[in-house]
């Protein structure tokens, strides 16, 4: 079976005063119709990886890859115009912050409808029904009222659910979720991820979940890539995370407090330990 997405030697660089700096340093991975987690801390290059798949990195940023194929289509060769037919419809992305990612002068309902209408022609009544059903699917109480609200009138958590609704309504084949729940509470977090999880399973979508939260990724993904400083330092099955070998992964695991915390002090990452890797 050909993979849904194949990436080989992906590099992303930005120019600085002292030459180009690579933020993603030649990573390779493939993705089937499965759930892949990418974890790492700020600056590890995980978000850049997600963005470069959608060709969302603007100049002066530079993306190169030996191969970047989605469902047999060579993404590196596509024009901006051709890319538009793929973005949203076939690959979509849930961004980190609903405050900056939603249009402040459009109501929530209009924005979700727009996501749908850009790629499909539908009667107005059907659109409205789909929007309301989608808002219900992301567990928004009273969707009729919420559809009429503007982004500043909803809470951060609700805004994120709106964005997820917007991204899932065209029923894409690959969903890239970049820290989709870091703005939400634990109780809602689980709900939102359950919604994403259900859709991914039922529709046979592929999912790339980008997060700094190891526990969350290990719960919702099949396979995990751990990134640090632009490289993949470890790849493992989600269930095997506790047995991770790399000192960086082990450091991250140890730094998290647990629900029955007995340690007086949390171990802090010694950043020199893996500097050579």
């Amino acid at each position: 079976m050909t993979p849904l997405l194949a990436v080989e030697d992906l590099r992303v660089s930005f120019p600085t005063h002292s030459g180009r700096v690579e933020v993603v340093k030649g990573i390779s991975f493939t993705l089937g119709r499965e759930r892949l987690g990418i974890v790492g801390e700020s600056g590890s290059g995980k978000s850049m990886t997600g963005r470069s798949i959608l060709k969302l990195i603007r100049k002066p940023g530079l993306v190169t890859a030996d191969r970047m194929e989605f469902d047999g289509i060579d993404l590196t060769a596509l024009s901006e115009h051709q890319m538009r037919a793929i973005r949203g419809a076939r690959i979509s992305m849930v961004m980190q912050d609903p405050k900056f990612s939603l249009n402040p002068v459009m109501t929530v309902g209009e924005q979700i409808a727009e996501a749908l209408l850009t790629h499909q022609k539908l009667a107005r009544k059907d659109v409205h029904q789909r929007v309301i059903a989608m808002l219900e699917a992301v567990r928004i109480n009273d969707p009729e009222r919420v559809a009429k609200l503007y982004p500043h009138e909803v809470s951060g958590g609700m805004g994120q659910r709106v964005m997820i609704a917007m991204m899932l309504i065209p029923e894409p084949e690959l969903l890239i979720a970049d820290e989709p729940t870091s703005a939400l509470d634990v109780s809602v977090q689980a709900q939102v991820l359950d919604i994403i999880d259900e859709l991914v399973r039922n529709k046979g979508m592929g999912l790339i979940l980008i997060s700094h939260d190891l526990a969350l990724v290990s719960r919702y993904c099949d396979r995990i890539l751990v990134m640090n400083a632009g490289t993949i330092v470890e790849e493992c099955a989600a269930g095997e995370l506790a047995n991770a070998q790399h000192p960086y992964t082990r450091g991250l695991l140890a730094a998290m407090p647990t629900i029955d915390e007995a340690r007086e002090e949390l171990p802090v990452l010694d950043r020199t330990q893996w500097a050579g890797t």
Partner: protein, 244 residues
């Protein structure tokens, strides 16, 4: 003596009442957590205590003194707040030195230079950061500055509104260790708002679970650790945490 007492506290934003009849007493030196989902009113309680949400009814007592509805200098000496977003809570055009000296200037406290340097050391920042601007600092460093600013007036009570939720796991561990050490060294009382139960387990003695502006349960951290919360909603929160 109780560091903080709330009696029948109702808080409103305009016509919407967001906190309903909250009663709480926190002993001096205690570390207390408010947990619950967004919109449950937990941050609003902190804001009312700090004087940022003046539309409240009931009684707020801080270190034995009843609080008025205005911003009061005497209260700011006792209670200080640390906000969630270290990127938004520091003035972008003021140096760290200016940010830390300002509370001292307002309250007419001398020896500002010395105090600023001592405080930077206390929160684990090198003195070379003193004349930098916030944009030159990482998120964790900024949160250290925000904590330092809150401590400049040597308050007794710290109101912590999700102090680590914007930070990476490893940086979060550093800030949590810092808060724990400062509390031990300075005998501070903490009122912490979070939705992360493991943090409560690490840093707090007691917790109150809030929902829809009301406290549904007050429990000991030992109960949390043993998974023995009573109310169905608290158990739901706990289950959501354990599942991940």
């Amino acid at each position: 003596m109780n560091a903080l007492t709330l009696e029948n506290l109702d808080i409103s934003y305009g016509d919407t009442q967001v906190v309903h009849g909250v009663n709480l007493s926190i002993a001096e030196g205690e570390s207390f957590a408010l947990v619950g989902e967004s919109g449950s009113g937990k941050s609003t309680i902190l804001r009312a205590i700090a004087g940022l949400a003046p539309d409240w009814e009931g009684e707020i007592t801080v270190m034995g003194e009843k609080r008025s509805h205005r911003v009061e200098r005497s209260v700011s000496r006792q209670v200080q707040m640390v906000f969630q977003d270290p990127y938004g809570s520091l003035h972008p055009r003021k140096t760290i030195d200016a940010a830390l000296s300002e509370p001292l200037a307002i309250h007419g406290i001398a020896n500002r230079g010395e105090r600023v340097e001592a405080m930077l050391t206390a929160v684990g920042l090198d003195r070379r950061f003193r004349f930098r601007y916030p944009h030159q600092l990482s998120g964790g460093q900024r949160q250290r500055v925000a904590i330092a600013r809150a401590l400049m007036l040597e308050p007794k009570v710290m109101l912590l509104d999700e102090p680590t939720s914007a930070l990476d796991v490893s940086v979060q561990a550093e800030i949590l260790n810092l808060l724990k050490r400062l509390r031990r060294e300075q005998g501070l009382t903490f009122l912490l708002v979070t939705h992360n139960l493991p943090i409560v387990s690490f840093l707090c003695d007691r917790l109150a679970v809030m929902r829809h502006g009301r406290i549904v349960e007050i429990a000991d951290v030992a109960q949390l650790k043993a998974g023995q919360l009573v109310e169905p909603y608290s158990r739901e929160l706990l289950a959501a945490t354990e599942g991940t």
